[in-house]
């Protein structure tokens, strides 16, 4: 099992990975991406089982990355971990093919609720 964590903040990538471990996903491999463009490239090279991506990133945003992936025919499971959780953003994310949107701040329980169904 491999999870790709995309966020332009190294601190936030570290917190997401720590929360994954605290939520009980101890044995997953984690790959990191620094922005949407890096994420797009690493979906191709790393073949992750799930992508957890920030929304607001330089070079390519998370939603642009998701749309690019779907346009390329990729069906990789994709969820957002972002500082904004408005109904409009959730709808935009869902319309683009995201499975869930986790709003920051989050807890290990939030991760379990969103990820258990995907990683089962």
């Amino acid at each position: 099992m491999k999870i790709l964590v995309a966020d332009d903040s190294r601190v936030m990538r570290q917190i997401v990975i720590r929360t994954l471990r605290q939520a009980g996903y101890d044995d997953v491999d984690v790959v990191e991406a620094e922005d949407g463009a890096d994420c797009l490239a690493k979906v191709g090279s790393e073949s992750p089982d799930l992508v957890l991506s920030d929304w607001n990133m330089p070079n390519m945003t998370g939603i642009e990355c998701l749309r690019a992936l779907r346009a390329q025919g990729s069906s990789v499971p994709f969820g957002f971990v972002t500082s904004e959780g408005s109904p409009e953003m959730r709808e935009t994310a869902s319309d683009a093919g995201a499975l869930f949107l986790i709003a920051k701040p989050f807890t290990p329980d939030t991760f379990r609720d969103a990820l258990d169904a995907v990683l089962a």
Binding site: E84, A103, P105
Partner: protein
Amino acid sequence: MSAPITALIDGETVTAVAGEVWSALVGEEELLLPRAVPVDGPSSWVTVTGPWDGVVVLTCAASGTADLARSVLQLDDDEQPTAEDVDDVLRELANILGGNVKSLLPGPSALGLPETGPAPLRAEDEDTCRVSASWRGHDLAITIQGASEAPATTTTEVPK
């Protein structure tokens, strides 16, 4: 043009948002204690663009930034965070505070990328909502201020 920020959000709500962010990122037992003092120190901020245009600024006394980074990164007490770590932590806290504040404002609106540096603060007026607090004895302030023209200021003094 939207109503001024004081008609859209109050200090109590901002304090509640900050408390949730602190509890989740800094630590479950980490409390922000209300403290009405001017705060001078490094700042981080994000812009909000939409019906209400402005910026959400976090200002932290210089004495507390390393402690803050240490807590968020769960470093040992004797570990010294790098300047890059401190900068990243301040940016991410402003980003999350900004995202949560944005969700309480009229939409649709967009959040900018977080920045750090000298606080881009303006004088207190009706398009400014500012709360200050103490965390582990370090003063900090959260300022939500409109982008409309106003005199600049260099302190985060909370009005009596």
